[in-house]
């Protein structure tokens, strides 16, 4: 699993202040720490970056690239900021990736040309003119639109990262939305046949947004295994979550096996299992929409 570090975010107070004051040290320290933690990409999240976003992105990209070779995700809705970042970006160990292009006309018309001009990758976010897609099929339609546009602009398949949009398991629509992301990934394999090399990514930790802090890891880990099963190759994650890193590296085949068997509808006999294993089965059932989420799902 390709890990994209989410930590360099304007919303993190220390980083936001450093960006505002153009103080390179906290930003470079964090970038180096993320690189040391072995992330494959570093996401630079400027948020909306309305005021002078261009100058800020150019400065952050240069500041980060002074100390690390890790390729970057440029994460903002400000198009000027994206372009300013791409302009100064140096391809050391991989292309920059635009995060993100939505399946809406204004987003596609303005950002695909940038990807083409600067030879950058792009996250194709399955967010359409009507907002969040309601199910897997609507996700499929948006993915097809984005892929067609990418082809029109001559973007190679391997530079397109489809993001099916992970939603919180605690949200009202979760029993439909959370499983439909997984369902879409089953379709994704067909897309990959049509467009070999096509990639995928997701804001993984959003699945556990709103859940009690100490229970977020098991939701993130389980969902990652479920999505990965059908070809999810990337995830934007906490760079310093060592446990998740171990899962991303495929170090828990025993749990993965149980998760997959549960996804296939097998009723695994809990009598022979450890508490930890049972917890992953319960979590899989919640994330598949078979059991309605509640904060106490592991105690039932």
């Amino acid at each position: 699993m390709i890990r994209i570090g989410e930590n360099l975010n304007v919303m993190v107070k220390k980083i936001g202040v450093a960006m505002m004051e153009r103080n390179p040290k906290p930003i470079q320290d964090l970038a180096m720490a993320e690189a040391k933690a072995g992330v494959d990409y570093i996401d630079i999240n400027l948020g909306p970056a309305r005021k002078e976003g261009g100058a800020l992105m150019a400065w952050v990209v240069q500041t980060v690239q002074e100390v690390v070779d890790t390729p970057l995700y440029l994460d903002t809705i400000n198009i000027e900021a994206i372009e300013a970042g791409l302009k100064v970006y140096q391809n050391k160990k991989g292309k920059a990736v635009i995060n993100s292009i939505m399946a809406r006309p204004e987003s596609m018309e303005s950002k695909f040309p940038l990807a083409q001009k600067y030879n950058a990758g792009l996250v194709a976010l399955l967010w359409g003119p009507a907002g969040l897609p309601r199910d897997a099929s609507e996700r499929g339609v948006l993915a097809a639109e984005l892929m067609q546009k990418a082809t029109e602009f001559g973007i190679p398949n391997e530079d397109v990262w489809i993001d099916p949009i992970v939603t919180p398991v605690t949200s009202p629509q979760s029993q439909v939305q959370v499983p439909s992301c997984v369902e879409f990934m089953m379709m994704f394999q067909d897309f990959q046949e049509m467009a070999p090399g096509l990639k995928s990514t997701c804001g993984l930790s959003n699945v556990s947004n709103g859940a009690p802090e100490h229970l977020r890891p098991i939701l993130n880990q389980t969902y990652m295994m479920m999505l990965e099963r059908y070809g999810m190759v990337g995830a934007i994650v906490d760079a310093f979550d060592e446990e998740l890193k171990a899962f991303a590296a495929g170090n828990r085949p025993d749990l993965r096996d149980l998760v997959f068997r549960t996804m296939d509808g097998e009723d695994v006999d809990p009598g022979t299992l450890t508490k930890e294993q049972v917890n992953y089965i319960k979590t899989t059932k919640v994330l598949m929409g078979n059991i309605l989420y509640s904060d106490s799902w592991l105690e039932l």
Binding site: P172, Q175, L292, Y293, S294, D295, S296, L300
Partner: protein
Amino acid sequence: MPFAIPKTIYTGKIKEVVLGRGPKAITVGGETSYPFHLFEGEMPHPPRIALEVYDTPPDNWAEAALEPYRDVIGDPVAWAKKAAEVYGADLIALQLISTDPNGLNAPSDQATETAKKVAAAVEIPVIVNGSGSPDKDAELLRKVAEACDGMNLVISPVVEENYKQIGAGAIAYKHTVAANSPIDINLAKQLNILLGNLGVPDRQVIVDPTTGGLGYGIEYTYSVMERDRMAALTQQDERLQFPIICNMAKEVWKTKEAKAKTEDAPLLGDAARRGIIMEAMTATLLLLAGADVLVMRHPEAVRLVREMIKDFSA
């Protein structure tokens, strides 16, 4: 090939809960299908209707709502008797509104005394509602539980902030709790789990999902109740298999459509008729979503809804 009507496969059943005591005690719940899907399952106990009684004269009520109770306003015991004997309420829903810290802030002991008198005056089951202030209700409803030991009241609302105090009272003095969550299916389930963990027996729990009035968010309540029943009946979600109560009257009658006088809003038509129909419509929607107990206000709205229940059950 003959056409076969598709049928939902149900795997769960709503628990049966007894409210009140003695010969007038009633049982709610027991459904094995979606509401009124009598071609698919059973609804052994019809939905029941509670009439509201206020512990202090309500201000700001619509004329139409006030009219049936004008002679008993200010006397909760007489009011309860009238609701039971004249208007045929299945239950009394006593609203201890005087205790509201943002209103009269009457002491809990005084309101407890009222609850005790009302509960003793009628044979039908009594729902005792606090003001909705979690702290005050924690104190008040505990006292009510103790003062009415063994009467199997419905103690309401019990929320995440006070379920431990009130739940303990319900266990000790054998009452049913109305587990109230803010129009959120996941939180509704969580509170049921917490009550179970505390030791409140399942036969003493009903669920209050929080009700919006017609035109004021009722679709959210509908959706939560619908999903509650889907999980309970088709996904064997044991922590959602509880009867549902909707404390709806206060939501309906506080809207401007229900309250505005005829002369102030001539385009909306006759005020009395309007409020009654708004109440009856709200009740009908909630019945279709799965309500087992409705807390209502106007006797004429109750009559309309009773007819509707009869038609749906035929």
